[in-house]
Symmetry: C2
């Protein structure tokens, strides 16, 4: 109310004598009200300024994708309409393959057409880096990963505007199949996978794709084979369960040898599902090799993936078909379960993991809701041992043996999965039996993506005028073996001097002692000291995680270096650039 109104109201209700006092009081109230208004205004201004900055930031990094897409499309269509029709240019796949960088222009092919997507890179709704993964390649396998493209006309319409020619399929050199090549029947692999070796296939997905979906698309799952992929007919496939010592069978541990037809396994046992992360024991070996070469594939950070598997519970199968359970295994002297693959792999796990009511070991025949396993991932049947190192998840399963000893061969009793101290750089003189083979894995975390640092967004510290800070963002995953949940992820942009705790996302709701799958994390406000940064500098975004047993990650790889290059779970660093 206005002052006059207030006076009228006051006269009506107060004694005239107290008017002066009232007026003073009223004036104070008015002043207070004005102050509040002023404060509100300031807050609104501040909020607007924040919004403006946020919008600026969005403009730079997260602009409305659909509108960007539409604007770009309309501009291109206009440009195309203005030009006279030309004769179709013809290219070979080789021509396309040679255009795989921005310098050389980025081409892709799709259903016999060739497109130059260079000018579209920055407008790609999924980001330029994602589109660059397909540079020089056919784009179809990438589109298959993301239903957004396949189910929408927009992507196809967009692509049309970028067409520069067609594939001349007649000119394609015929691929000669070498009939003597044992790998000739291996399945095709997704072009996004980084190939460490093709024969046998050892391939990992790029980090940017790995962090996009909680369940890794089956086509992107890291491939770790030891031999050609076996050719098996799932309709007639059988597995046997036997008992005995190494190289002997039927030493009376079991009442009988069981032969189980896969189709019966599916029908006779409840289908159980487990969402589990698989990780190769050599994941991040490349980081150890930088110190001193270890032996094995020099994996990056991508020898890890997650899927939803379905199958029969091993525990149930052992009970029904072999009569083995928690009540009799000790008396029978059974200590290990050895799995044999059709590729001649064999690996064992302790019987306690197989029989534990909390072990969740599966004989899996489905992956990611597809009713059969991909050939690279064990079709028609593989073992899933949640929380244990990848190698225990034997693919193309043909036989299960209950045994008093662990599997012979390199993967259990041999050196392949045994970690020695950093002082041992040669197998000579090493007592291999003295160290147990890997089963459960230690805690691991990786920065999969981090935003470049924009100096234009830096602000001056309120406390210290000379200090300028800027925020950046990062995303990644963390996982620990043995079902130990991730309870915290810390991120640092100053080499570990200070840490900020990230937000745990998908996977953070898993049970604390049965968290078989990874946990995604992200941080939006990672503080970077920009005081002395200049464009072109690089900074490292570091991550370390803590699991439900409060295990931490070691700082440096030096102290955990081992000659087999196993278990590199030192703090992971992701390098980002400093921009203007």
């Amino acid at each position: 109310m206005s002052v006059l109104e207030a006076i009228s109201a006051a006269i009506g209700s107060f004694a005239i004598g107290s008017l002066a006092a009232y007026l003073i009081e009223q004036q104070e109230e008015e002043e207070e009200e004005q102050q509040q208004q002023q404060q509100q205004l300031e807050q609104e201004l501040e909020m607007k300024e924040k919004q403006r900055k946020e919008e600026e930031r969005n403009k730079k990094n997260n602009a409305n994708e659909k509108s960007k897409w539409r604007i770009f499309k309309e501009a291109k269509a206009e440009a195309a309409a203005a030009l006279p029709p030309e004769a179709v240019k013809m290219y070979t796949r080789q021509d396309v393959a040679e255009h795989d960088t921005i310098d050389k222009r980025v081409w892709v092919s799709y259903k016999e057409n060739v497109y130059d997507v260079t000018d579209f890179l920055d407008n790609h709704p999924g980001g330029r880096d994602l589109l660059l993964l397909a540079a020089g390649k056919d784009i179809e396998p990438f589109w298959r990963l993301y239903q957004a493209h396949v189910n929408s006309d927009v992507a196809m319409e967009m692509l049309k505007t970028l067409k520069i020619g067609e594939l001349d399929l007649e000119k394609e050199p015929k691929v000669e199949i070498d009939e003597s090549d044992p790998y000739k029947n291996d399945p095709e692999r997704h072009p996004a996978l980084k190939r460490h070796s093709a024969k046998p296939a050892n391939m990992e997905p790029p980090l940017s794709l790995l962090r996009r979906e909680y369940l890794t698309p089956s086509a992107l799952w890291f491939v770790r084979n030891h031999s050609p992929v076996p050719i098996i007919d799932g309709a007639t496939h059988e597995i046997t369960i036997v008992s005995g010592e190494q190289n002997h069978e039927n030493l009376n541990l079991l009442r009988t040898k069981a032969v189980i037809n896969l189709e019966h396994l599916k029908k006779d046992f409840e289908k159980k599902t487990v969402v589990a992360t698989g990780q190769c024991g050599g994941n991040r070996r490349g980081g150890l090799d930088l110190i001193k070469k270890s032996s094995g594939t020099g994996w990056g950070e991508g020898a890890i993936s997650t899927a939803k598997f379905a199958g029969a519970s091993l525990r149930d199968v052992l009970e029904v078909h072999a009569g083995i359970n928690l009540h009799n295994y000790e008396r029978l002297g059974i200590k290990h379960v050895i799995f044999y693959g059709a590729d001649d792999m064999r690996a064992s796990i302790p019987i306690e993991k197989a029989l534990s009511p909390f072990g969740d070991v599966l004989l899996a025949y489905e992956m990611n809701d597809c009713d059969e396993l991909p050939r690279d991932h064990g079709y028609p049947l593989r073992v899933i041992v949640p929380g244990h190192v990848g190698v225990r998840n034997v693919k193309w399963l043909s036989k299960i043996k209950l045994c008093s000893e662990e599997a012979d061969g390199p993967w259990n009793r041999g050196i392949a999965y045994k970690g020695f101290g950093p002082g041992y750089s040669s197998v000579e003189g090493l007592n291999i039996d003295s160290v147990p083979t890997m089963q459960e894995m230690p805690i691991q975390s990786v920065v999969a993506e981090a935003e470049n640092v924009s100096l234009s967004l830096a602000t001056t510290s309120e406390k210290d005028e000379k200090k300028r800070t800027v925020q950046t963002s990062a995303k990644g995953f963390a996982w620990s073996g043995g079902g130990r949940a991730i309870i915290r992820v810390d991120v640092s942009a100053n080499n570990g001097l200070t840490w900020q705790t990230a937000t745990l996302k998908e996977g953070s709701d898993q049970p604390l002692s049965k968290a078989w799958a990874w946990t995604f994390w992200e941080i939006d406000d990672l503080e970077v000291d920009a005081t002395h940064l200049k464009p072109g500098d690089e900074i490292k975004v570091l991550v370390k995680a803590t699991d439900a047993s409060y295990n931490a990650q070691p700082e440096n790889p030096e102290s955990i270096w081992n000659l087999r290059g196993l278990n590199n779970n030192s703090w992971h660093a992701f390098t980002v650039k400093v921009e203007e």
Copy 2:
């Protein structure tokens, strides 16, 4: 044979014409023989030199204890016999207490006699450091720890020769008991325990005693109390098992409320034994406090101990008295087991740990083969949760509740056992619910003893004349939560530049996934670069261990600092001196 004899022999058996050739051959053989003899001689000399060095070393550190003891005793007896008998000198306990360093002379008392053991320190068979632990104190509690003293006349005879007087018990000030002191009935504690606080008792054993026996003597077990020790009559003690929500009971999770008399518990259930290590969540907090003060007792490395416990299996008790087992707990909505102590402590564990066939949770009534628990350690009944943090092993057990939620109060839902990131140095604004409380502990290792470096034993490197090295030795223990066995211990004397793998001793034969107790380790040939060392220098002996899940320890405490000072499992350092 001599050359002449050889010639005669040759003439008798060879044609004369080949004599010259024979002689040359023979000469060569002789030379070879001489060379061999020379080599043998050199080897013998080398061996003798080695032996001499070894003896010198033994003389310094490990001399034959019995003979040392005898020689010293005889010398003292001789000296005593030569002196005229004197009047007995009288001292107070305070006089003895004031003689607690070598500078002030080291006195001890035993059964009303006072002894000056200063000159005996270096002859003490257990080492001078061990005897120094009793400096200024009554020696009886120390002798009780080691049967060698109590059962042998030698120790007593030895002590007699060191007598300097007697205790004047009449002069002792009367200890006034403050009847209002709630702690007045607390038991006496062993004088070797380091007291962080007396009311309530928070005390830890010295490392040198901790590493002497695999099973920590009960009197030396670290004491971590929250209140006065309750007074309970074991003969009539009962525990109840109930179900319900927080602060409510009997919400139909159980058929009935069970009341179990302790004597019946002992009779009705098989006595099971578990050798388990207990560790306080704040063990080594002192190391974190050096960076920045955290909250809680500033423990050294001794808030950890190991014992053999015996009692009834919680799993069996829950099945028989509450009808709860692996088949029905999920349906009944039971997620946690809360234990209540008579001291008003309450703490819970996940139901899966309680019911797991591999969990080994005990309701323990015996410790180290003594038929009752010491009062400080839970008499008459405590919980033993192997592999979990100390606080879950609730003492003076009075009630068990089966519940859908974990215990309320500071020890589960509160902040006391929750680890936040190093960036949080205040509880303000902290989302306490966001981090799970500690249950299983991470991998830990400690150097308990290490020998000083003797420059006189340094040798020159064969490869590099300028480099001198010397060996030292160290001993310690390692343990990991969750039953994860210790599979390797690495030790470094150069700040982690290189590591040597130690020998695993007692405890190394535990099952890989049920290693509830610590593993002792030792190293005799830890290499020290002595090139630039001089007497008076100090060097650090570092240790880090690896568990069966290949978890490693973090390098520095900075990255794991947390405001509650929990889980300091950074590399442990033990400082040794460099001597001439």
